[in-house]
Amino acid sequence: MSHDDFHGRLEDDRMVTGSGTYSLDWDFPQAAHAWFLRADRAHAQIVSIDASAALAHPGVIAVLTGEDLQAAGFKSLPVLTIPTRPDAMKPLLPFRPCLATGKVRMAGEAVVCVIAETQQIAMDATELVSVEYKELPPVVDALDALKPGAPQVHADVPGNLYWDYDDGDQAGTDALFAKAATIVKHDLYNHRVIGNPMEPRCCISEYDAAKEQYFLYSPTQGPRIQAAMVAKVLGVPTDKVDVVAKDTGGGFGIRSAVYPEYCVTLLASKKLGRPVCWNGSRSESFLTDNQARDFICHGELALDDKGKFLSMRFYMVANNGAYLAPTGLLSQTRSVTSCITGVYDVPVAHARIKLVATNTAQVAAYRGAGRPIMSTMLECLVERAAIDLDMDPVEIRRNNLIRKDQFPYAMTNGTTYDCGDFEAVLDDALAAADWKGFEQRRAESAKRGKLRGRALSTYIESTAAGGIPDEAQLRFEADGTLSLFASSHSHGQGHETSFAQVVSRVLGLPMKTIKLRTGEAGMRVGGGGTGGSRSMVSFGSSFFLGAQEVVKKGKELAAKELEAAPADITFDHGEFSIAGTDRRISLQNLIQKHQGTHPHPLDSSSANKYGMTYPNGAHIAEVEIDPETGVTDIISYIAVDDIGNVITHALVEGQMQGGLTQGAGQIFGEHAIYDRESGQLLTGSFMDYPMPRAVLVEGLQIIDHPVPTALNPLGAKGVGEAGCTGALPTLSNAILDALRPVGVKHFDMPATPQRVWQAIQEAKAGRPSAMLSYTLEYA
């Protein structure tokens, strides 16, 4: 669909009229209401819990504690494991309970669940529960947690080290570093953020005793993967759990997970014999949603005497929080290192990442999931090399890019890039940004007393290939419509439109007759969920192949109708015909002839795995800083992206705009801050946590540069996270570029006015690296 053809999505009419169905919009008038008593401190032994006053409160139906869950046979909340080297440390996976038992490990951890006739009564009664705690000292900083004598978060995680992860070729890397003419080192802190989808986490849980079936109505990114995780906790087969969802109010990786409240309310529903609703508040989302980033990063780049990159090595410390979330291993390890040397021709590199337990909320996948950690590290390191070695920031990059003729490009860490044209993408960005005219613009800003900075950054990221085949089912209904079934779930991407687009293009059927169905009770369709920018790559491709299967079946039906051999039938624009004749029959006609039969003879499905592919791009930002106030404005932002073939341009542009702005949100202010003494989250509401507003990002220009992949039939590479992965390094570098002329050498984000102003004052006072949070040594 070209941009001009776009007149809205299939999902829009219900959403703009308030007729969408988000999790708490399902009608369960008979539901009881759950509320959770949460730990008011970050680290403590639970001495006793007394809920008698709450139970005696009028309208209270039940109270559940960790002991009740143990009695019900609850298992740990699950963690997705990833392959480890046989000789390496295995990750430690401490038990993660749905309600704390013995100990609380983070402020906000659920301790007691009170169920009452109304939410107000449940909230009132929760205040009547008394918990006696024995305080323990908390640790919230990852480096503090690694120190000898630090408070131990889990008895079975010695030294607070969940995992010492290692990727790449250490010996080969060290050998190349030994030959280097120059080694450039750079430290940065990729600070912690909170994803905040606009729909707070919530659920309605229902147990059907007759069917022995659990139904969870919750925001989701993939009903079946979420059901599998819930089933693990409950200790029942996956088939006994249905996650039901129609509209999901944002996800960004955070809504792919199972959470304690879902499992507790499912048990409550089973015990009470009625549905249980949990109307989760924003405060609870702040405290207990999976949080993101919080990586202390150190990178080293070895160069020869001509500025050619020889190798790279990294040491990072990731603050994983009090528990491992389902994606808490993957997003902090392989997702970081998969594109270990970016778009650069550096096949040999090494990274070590320590995953650390602290008394903070669990950290896991969030838009980019690890890739923005590496893109920021890499591009800030390369920028540093250009500065230290007095090289042109464009040429140092250009001279080290993987060339178009080097694909497939294999690295020693097991990653193989399939295709790309990094230099052409770079050139497009330079042209669009009027790169050469910058000095004039900088001088003009200076006349107005402003500091102008600009930066070019590249990025590349892996989109998540499927571990299991992603299935697409196409079913012709009795009412003449075509239903599409998949296990992915849109949380804003517009799958109803884009998947219908894919199928409509193959079959020539009107978009409005094609209906995507993803989160229905009883639906069993194979594959993963939405995440890792994978939906078009995987489910889109399966729908494309499934639609081709419809054509194949249609040819056989048409052959019978037209009394010809199937091999002689061609299909074009919705019509089957005998080649070289005017004898034809439309697909619509064939559908109608068999309308109402089940299964319809044209019903088809396709389930496939697709190879990992690599969206990439070059972004250029210009910013202007008012040194008197520290206020930074984005003057222009050019994003040139190779996301493979584009199916629906407007939706792709929307994903890029959203991703870039989300990245800008982190760069300019979003910051989850825990108090070092108390372990309390200091930024627990929208009043303390500055979400991006409409004034934050202006002057945005998005340019496609598709280099289609051959690894899936659509040639798509994925777009969901690219904007965020590109924005973090680009804006970081642009801000430092603006600050360098006044003497600032290091600047860790976020670039709040206060921090920018402080950086300038510190530099004036002879402390150019005052805004550097941490330093590490590669070891």
Binding site: D13, P197, P200, D247, G250, V697
Partner: protein
């Protein structure tokens, strides 16, 4: 303590006994079961619950149902024509891809209608500033701004009112 509240919602008179502490948004969502108005926060920051009360955009999470006694309320469900034709602002959000997950959209549309009513010759900068009370996490606001600008320029907007 229960208290009786009466008001007009989307042109219809409604009256119920509610607890005194019931927020207007809870009354709309839970008592009236009109779920187009959303709750995205608990600090009156996000604007997902924006409705019109006596012709002004207000955050319905920040006001008690009692305070709306006798008021004329319009929610997102009352914005389109009875025949289902979208209000020009709704149509512009759709046309310009001004929504993704759609959760903030009802509040955005209600705020935007008020914005254009107050500033008929609005500028892009003014739209961006006026949207300060409405959070969107998906779109980066770019297409929301575009949609509001287009709706402001659409002569149908002035006629549509609300």
């Amino acid at each position: 303590m229960a208290v009786k509240v009466s008001m007009t919602v989307n042109g219809k008179s409604v009256s119920h006994e509610v607890e005194e502490r019931t927020l207007l948004v809870s009354y709309i969502r839970e008592t009236l079961r009109m779920t187009g108005t959303h709750v995205g926060c608990d600090t009156a920051q996000c604007g997902a619950c924006t409705i019109h009360m006596n012709g002004r955009a207000v955050k319905s999470c920040n006001i008690l149902a009692m305070q709306a006694e006798g008021a004329s309320i319009t929610t997102i469900e009352g914005v389109a024509n009875a025949d289902g034709t979208l209000h020009p602002m709704q149509a512009a959000f759709k046309e310009h891809h001004g929504l993704q997950c759609g959760f903030c959209t009802p509040g955005m549309v209600m705020s935007a209608i008020d914005l254009v009513k107050n500033f008929p010759d609005t500028t892009e900068q003014q739209i961006r500033e006026q949207l300060d009370g409405n959070l969107c996490r998906c779109t980066g606001y770019h297409n929301i701004v575009k949609a509001i600008k287009a709706a402001a320029a659409d002569p149908a907007s002035a006629k549509a009112g609300v």
